[in-house]
């Protein structure tokens, strides 16, 4: 069988190249390659070998073979196929259900031999067109392929450059690392005396500071006592009496809502009246509970409890919020409404008395400036720190540079790095509604032409072509989510072209975009000149 098959070859080639080929006699719809199975006058064996039928049942418009092989030229078998020679174009198989269905499928019209369909033989025209377009494509491919070689060279150079640079940078890095270490030592050396000087200063100061503070506090207490005495002494007789005390029910020792004379007397140390001197002796009984008769808020900078150090942190917060943080919040979330306003209102309530108190404390004494010697040590240490920080920053930058270089060098830019030139480039396509932007190996986005924000159609995922041609497609994933749908994603199809352009975009399925992208980098090696396209199809 196989030897006969080969014998046919020379004839075949002749046929497909020559325009004036002679049609070899065979049943309708049979390709030349299978002609030998259909021998006039001899029983026909179904090609699956299932059984044999008389030859007059081949193409008799009744399906006898399970595999459809007895009816290559009729529509009788559901799984048959019909061969059109399509002289001038290329031969093709069509499902036999398309024979005589009134629709012209074969350009040589042979499929419509009994349907009345007015088919025109368009094979020459199509062949011509196809050759033209193949030629055009071949030219493009050729030029593209040349460009591709350049790209490959450039990429090679680029990578070499980068590798060289990487080496350089690694040297720089080493230097920097050493420098950082050296500066760290300098810094640490400078910081030790600074630390000691500071501690000394603090120690000295602390003792004085507490003493001063105590003094100030005592004076303040005395001043207040005098004020209170005057306030209590309603009749200004220089004495505070039980009856005068009674008007201040907050002083009631058992707070039982009845402030008795006996109780008041007890507060005054068992007497009816006290002068200023005696008042000083009982002042401690009164000062905690006493509420000034001057009711306005500002007039009450009362020195309250001795535990004066009252969470200064929260004081700071309550001071800062209204000015800084809240304002930022407002800018960031200006759509949020009432709730936030409510919060703002809370923040904006007047500072608590504690704040006021803190300010008073500050009046009581601040840290005095460092002496010159200490200051010199501090300055020296600061300089060492700055130098160190700067060196460290430089090292980090170099590290980043190395990471990027390494990434770029190891990135999959195609078998010969021909796609490297896309890197950090962007390509745009403008449609009636949108501007699409493809930044290869980075992201795809879509921006409405007339206002509106940009939508992320996916960030670089992977090369996603079929196994034999992985670099023919790119996949960008995890873009902006769709309502009731998936996250947007884009498939970029690369085709050979002289220029690097996005030629079309579409959204075949909701939120799944398709982009056509031409580049010389995908151009294959053009076929050698003498091979006429697809001649040997039917073998």
């Amino acid at each position: 069988m196989s030897s006969r098959f080969h014998q046919l070859l020379p004839m075949l080639l002749l046929l497909s190249v020559g325009v004036s080929a002679v049609e070899v006699q065979r049943p309708r719809g049979v390709p030349l390659s299978k002609r030998q199975f259909y021998e006039e006058g001899k029983p026909f064996t179904c090609l699956d070998g299932s059984h044999s039928i008389p030859f007059d049942r081949v193409n008799d418009d009744y399906c006898d073979c399970q595999d459809g092989s007895d009816e290559p030229g009729t529509a009788a078998c559901p799984n048959g196929s019909f061969h059109c020679t399509n002289a001038g174009f290329r031969p093709a198989f069509i499902p036999s259900s398309r024979i005589n269905d009134g629709i012209c499928d074969c350009c040589d019209t042979t499929d419509e031999y009994n349907s009345g369909a007015a088919c025109q033989n368009t094979c020459r025209e199509m062949g011509h067109k196809e050759r033209e377009s193949l030629q055009k494509m071949a030219e493009i491919a050729k030029e593209g392929f040349v460009l591709k070689q350049q790209l490959i060279q450039e990429a090679k150079r680029g990578i070499e450059d980068k590798k060289a640079k990487l080496v350089d940078v690694q040297v720089v890095k080493k230097d920097l690392e050493e420098k950082v270490e050296a500066l760290r030592t300098v810094k640490e050396t400078a910081e030790q005396p600074e630390k000691e000087a500071k501690e000394r200063h603090l120690k000295n100061f602390t003792i004085r500071w507490y003493y001063q503070k105590a003094l100030i506090r005592m004076e303040k207490d005395k001043a207040r006592m005098a004020v209170v005495f005057l306030e209590l002494d309603d009749d200004a007789d220089g004495l505070v009496s039980v009856s005068e005390l009674l008007s201040h029910s907050e002083l009631d020792p058992d707070s039982d809502a009845s402030f008795t004379e006996a109780e008041a007397q007890g507060l005054l140390g068992g007497v009816d009246k006290v002068d200023t001197e005696a008042f000083e002796a009982v002042w401690n009984n009164l000062k905690e509970k006493y509420v000034s008769e001057v009711t306005t808020y500002t007039a009450a900078p009362v020195e309250t409890p001795p535990e004066e150090v009252r969470e200064p942190a929260s004081d700071n917060e309550s001071e800062q919020y209204p000015e800084d943080d809240v304002q930022e919040d407002e800018e960031e979330e200006d759509e949020e409404d009432e709730d936030d306003d409510q919060d703002d209102a809370d923040y904006k309530t007047p500072p608590t008395p504690a704040t006021q108190e803190k300010k008073d404390d500050d009046d009581e004494g601040t840290m005095p400036p460092y002496d010159q010697e200490t200051q010199n040590l501090i300055d020296a240490a600061q300089k060492a720190r700055d130098d160190f920080d700067e060196a460290e920053r430089a090292l980090r930058e170099v590290d980043d540079q190395i990471t990027n270089l390494e990434k770029e060098i190891s990135f999959d830019f195609g078998p010969n790095a021909e796609f490297a030139y896309f890197y950090s480039q962007c390509y745009e396509l403008s449609t009636s509604e949108y501007i699409y932007r493809l930044c290869p190996f980075n992201r795809v986005s879509q921006k409405p032409k007339y206002g509106g924000s940009e939508t992320n159609l996916g960030t670089w995922g992977k090369w996603a072509g079929p196994e034999e041609n992985v670099y023919s497609m790119m996949k960008y994933e995890h873009g902006t989510g769709c309502w009731q749908g998936p996250n947007r994603s884009t498939t970029v199809k690369l085709t050979c072209g002289k220029e690097t352009v996005v030629t079309s975009t579409s959204e075949p399925s909701r939120c799944e975009y398709l982009m056509e992208f031409t580049s010389p980098a995908i151009c294959g090696e053009p076929p050698s000149r003498d091979s006429e396209p697809r001649d040997h199809e039917e073998l």
Binding site: A75, A76, S97
Partner: protein, 769 residues
């Protein structure tokens, strides 16, 4: 049947509003039982209740110029335990009692993501109920287009089988009885009782009142490929090419609302569908067709011809204050043409003329969606009840609106061809009689197994009340089906009357070839099964058109005395001869089908295995299985040469499947015409009776006065349940006799006659000896 035996007859006369409101009773709820209202009104004529003259629903108010106007009547059905009909509800075939919940509601609404097994109102309403027991079938047609409620109660509903047996043993005197009560918001009591006694009698009695199923173009029984939306002409072309590439037949490709220029119906998007005729011609070249959507809401836009004409002619529905009613729908602000007006419908029909509907061609057909009508900002997403159609309130005609939209559209498609071509119009809303104008689908279902399952009772219920051309969105409209669900849905849809895949805009694409070669093959096989049966489907529609019998039937219609069939709704019959039990459950390895008929046999159409009737048959299934059985005693014509579209198959030969019953006889019919014109009304068709008896199979003319020339011939005859003959002879009309080759498969008793070759329209006899 007895009427008003429970004394629930009630009606409220129309009255004038008395503006002196006396003593309103705020504690009475507005949705108070109308019966109470009626009685109250009778007793105390002057009493005014809240809600009588005005109602509010959310932010909507309904001025009720005639006051409360409900009507009601009860029907008692002694001996009846099974009632059916009153679509559209996503519920079981057998209606449930409503004692413990809401009544079945009939009020055409655009329901978003409807719930299953629920008496809530859906897109259409047919106020027809069938009542059945083993001795008799009857029907009630409550002709009222206002909002309607149906309550059903039964004295046996709560009883277990054991309880019923106990009753029987004890000779309990109580006969089973179902009581039904109809209530409508306005209008009159206009009731037709169909007395049967057989189901077929009820169908023809009802058909005499509302007409029969329109006879659709043959192609519309093929497969329809739809999606919201095909993006542009290129997309349409590539989907069309995809079907050829994957060798899957289809007849219609559909365009949803996005094809229009800004939701202005009768127009095309100037960028995406710039050259519609070119596109349509491309489809026509493949002998295929297209459907484009035309909804009844009209964009209010003074640059839109359709709107300007309707406004200037005063054809819009008015609001209660006399201005044009405006609502919110796809195009934004929209008017609603008053389709209840004959002059409006005539004008609308004229808009389908080729010179009016720019870009249309003879292979472009129409889909009316949103015709409940859907009003996005209206009460319950529909029109305000106090909107005005001339002197009639919308309240009175609501359920008729969609019916008239489809009527006017179908008329338009007929007129554009000069009355020659049959129309095809799909509608979502419908009413009693909608069968005369085209097809109906079950609206916006979801890609869920339960939705696949419910498609069977939903279409069966529609068929019982005359609407045979019914289908559900294959794959499910909302959400995305699993591959298994999609395959099962194709397998089910291939055996339902209207076979269309559809999908929501936000779902991933799901053309049949997107799920891998294996699933493509499964879907191809299901669609091809549909196409081989096109002659049978066409015959069923021809018969439905003449008799009013449903095409897709519950088993009890053919086996009215077999109680085992009364509640079956996971299987169905097509005509009388094909029984289908599609697989509608995920991951199952078998289904149990009930094969009816005590003395009957059924043949598995795939394996030709014979099974006895009156049994529950367990059928092991794989993912490729579609359990379908042909009744012994029937002859079914098929066309086995499945092509790109049904038009391509027009002249193809027939294969006759003769399934013998135990008496070794069989009967069937063959109907052939041009497939698309009204010429069948001029007796241009072939209608033959095929019968097998005494080893003679013959074809006899059923319409000797009809004339039609067909090129189709008989390519094979397959006789199931046959014994091996020694000789087979064909005798044609001219007396010629010839031998016919045959094959006999003894294991399945299948006799195949090879290429008898006679013309399908001729008289002939085949003798087995």
């Amino acid at each position: 049947m007895s009427l008003n035996s429970r004394g629930l007859l009630a009606f409220e006369h129309l009255r004038m509003r008395k503006d002196t409101q006396a003593d309103p009773e705020p504690e009475k709820k507005e949705e108070a039982d109308p019966d109470n209202q009626a009685e109250t009104a009778k007793e105390e004529e002057e009493k005014v209740e809240e809600g009588m003259w005005e109602e509010t629903f959310k932010s909507h108010s309904d001025g009720k110029p005639n006051g409360p106007s409900s009507v009601s009547l009860d029907f008692s059905l002694p001996g009846v335990e099974h009632v059916y009909g009153i679509p559209e509800h996503a519920d079981t075939l057998r209606l449930k009692t409503t004692d413990n919940g809401d009544p079945y509601r009939l009020y055409n609404l655009d329901v978003f993501q409807y719930e299953l097994y629920n008496p809530m109102a859906l897109y259409g309403a047919v106020p027809v109920m069938l009542a059945h027991h083993a001795q008799r079938t009857t029907g009630v047609f409550w002709l009222n287009a206002a909002e309607t409620w149906v309550d059903i109660s039964s004295n046996t509903a709560g009883k277990t089988v054991f309880g019923k047996m106990l009753d029987y043993v004890q000779g309990s005197s109580e006969t089973p009885q179902t009581d039904v009560r109809w209530i409508s918001e306005s209008g009159i009591i206009d009731v037709f009782i169909m007395l049967g006694p057989t189901p077929k009698d009820v169908f023809s009695q009802y058909a005499s009142l509302t007409g029969t199923q329109s006879f659709p173009p043959l192609t519309s029984l093929g497969y329809h490929q739809c999606r919201w939306n095909y993006n542009d002409q290129e997309d349409v072309q590539s989907v069309d090419a995809g079907f050829d590439e994957h060798d899957i037949p289809y007849d219609f490709i559909w365009l949803d609302i996005e094809h229009t220029d800004g939701k202005r119906y009768f127009t095309w998007d100037p960028h995406k569908f710039a050259t519609p005729k070119e596109m349509l011609q491309g489809i026509m070249d493949k002998k295929r067709k297209m459907v484009a959507i035309v909804d009844p809401h009209i964009k209010v836009d003074s640059n839109y011809k359709i709107h300007n004409e309707i406004r200037s002619r005063g054809f819009y529905i008015k609001n209660k204050d006399g201005g044009d009613y405006e609502g919110w729908c796809w195009p934004g602000s929209a008017g609603y043409p008053d389709f209840t007006r004959a002059d409006m419908r005539a004008w609308w029909a004229s808009m389908f003329a080729y010179d009016q509907y720019e870009g249309s061609m003879e292979n472009l057909y129409t889909w009316n969606d949103m015709n409940e009508p859907s009003v996005f900002n209206g009460p319950e997403v529909t029109m305000h009840k106090d909107a005005m159609h001339g002197d009639w309130e919308h309240r009175d005609v609501h359920n008729l609106y969609g019916f008239y939209v489809q009527m006017a559209t179908a008329e338009g498609l007929i007129q554009r061809s000069g009355g020659v071509e049959r129309p095809f119009v799909l509608t979502r809303a419908f009413f009693a009689g909608s069968q005369r104008y085209g097809a109906v689908w079950t609206g916006d279902n979801a890609a869920e197994w339960d939705h696949l399952k419910i498609s069977i009772p939903m279409c069966l219920s529609l068929g019982l009340v005359g609407i045979s051309f019914c289908g559900a969105d294959v794959g499910g409209f909302f959400k995305s089906p699993s591959t298994e669900l999609l395959v099962r849905w194709y397998q089910t849809g291939a055996y339902q009357p209207f076979f269309r895949a559809h999908a929501h805009l936000d779902t991933p694409r799901r053309e049949p070839w997107l799920f891998g070669p294996e699933n493509t093959a499964l879907i191809r096989d299901a669609v091809r099964q549909r196409y081989t049966l096109m002659p049978y489907w066409y015959l069923q529609f021809y018969q439905a058109h003449h008799t009013g019998q449903p095409v897709m039937r519950p088993l009890w219609v053919e086996y009215p005395q077999d109680p085992a069939t009364f509640a079956l709704d996971d299987e169905f019959l097509i005509g009388r001869d094909l029984l289908v039990h599609p697989v509608t459950e995920e991951g199952v390895r078998g289904v149990t089908a009930y094969l009816p008929g005590k003395d009957e046999v059924w043949f598995d159409v795939h394996t030709f295995q014979k099974h006895n009737g009156a049994q529950n048959l367990y059928i092991p299934v794989t993912i490729s299985s579609i359990p379908v059985f042909q009744r012994g005693g029937s002859i079914i014509p098929r066309k086995l040469r499945v092509r790109r579209s049904s038009s391509c198959m027009e002249h193809d030969p027939y294969s006759l499947y003769v399934a013998l019953n135990p008496q070794r006889t069989a009967e069937g019919e063959l109907y052939i015409d041009d497939g698309h014109t009204f010429n069948y009304e001029k007796k241009e068709f072939v209608h033959r009776r095929l019968s097998f008896a005494n080893n003679l199979l013959s074809s006899v003319d059923l319409a000797p006065d009809a004339q039609f020339t067909t090129h189709s011939w008989i390519e094979r005859i397959i006789i199931l349940g046959a014994s091996k003959p020694s000789k087979v002879t064909l005798k044609t009309a001219d007396g010629q006799e010839s031998h016919i080759d045959f094959e006999f498969d003894a294991s399945m008793s299948v006799l195949t006659l090879r290429k008898p070759g006679m013309n399908s329209g001729a008289d002939w006899t085949v003798m087995l000896q």
